[in-house]
Amino acid sequence: MTRIGELAPEFDLSDTDGDPQPFQTPAVVIFTCNHCPYALAWHDRLMDAARDYPDVHFYAINPNDAERYPRDSFEAMRERVQRDEGWPMPYLRDGTQDVARAYGAKTTPDVFVLDSGGVLRYRGAPDADHDDPSLNAGWLREALDAVLAGEEVARPETDPVGCSVKWKQ
């Protein structure tokens, strides 16, 4: 598990086209999935943030056990991205769950902000309420603004809220 101020693990995962996506920083790493209502409720806000910060590398990673949760299969991920006519970030499959474990992801969504040196600067929820789109992923944006300005993140950690990561049994 990575703590605030520690170097975050690099990863080498492929997107829904099967193309490997290089790990680059500064970055936002979002553990998410297809079937969780919290992940779905926050989805548009996270996509908007990715569009608004073009110099930051956003990665959506689905770590869920697809055997028990077929809606999170690679095929279902690909269909979803196609249905949406593309996402502003790659949607990556963490089939071994090693990346989720290395980051200490607990829920979908669970958001991690890394600075240009790859150090973890924020971890938690996108904002205070999945049910209020006007919050606009404010906690994530606050952290990104601080990181990009070279300042301390005022609120480096919040409780991630969502469905538990579906670990393989």
């Binding site: 079937h35 969780c36 209502p37 919290y38 028990r68 949760y69 538990s164």
Partner: protein, 103 residues
């Protein structure tokens, strides 16, 4: 009237679902105890015909129709509010309508 709240611990929405349900029952003047039923494994999920957490049943009927073919498993249930948003909770007005139907 029998009121059941089926829930799974892997989804954080059930305390809010229970509070909402009890509020609506109070507002509708219905004196009913909410039976809280924890669903703990996939076998129980199938046995209880549990499409996800939270599931609210009044007199055995789901307050929101379960789509045909929905699998029964330990998962968080996806609801649509009346204004079309995705939510981990049923729209309170759907719960209220179900209470009124059963009253």
């Amino acid at each position: 009237m029998t009121v059941e709240l089926l829930w799974w611990d892997g989804c954080p929405s059930h305390p809010e679902a229970q509070a909402e349900l009890e509020r609506i029952l109070r507002e509708e003047g219905v004196e009913a105890t909410v039976s809280s039923i924890e669903v703990a494994d996939d076998e129980q999920a199938r046995r209880e015909r549990f499409p996800g957490s939270p599931t609210i049943r009044i007199d055995g009927e789901d307050v929101v129709t379960v789509p045909e073919g929905e699998p029964y498993s330990l998962t968080c249930r996806v609801y649509r509010t009346r204004d079309g948003r995705i939510s981990p909770l049923p729209d309170p007005e759907d719960v209220r309508a179900a209470v009124r139907r059963a009253a």
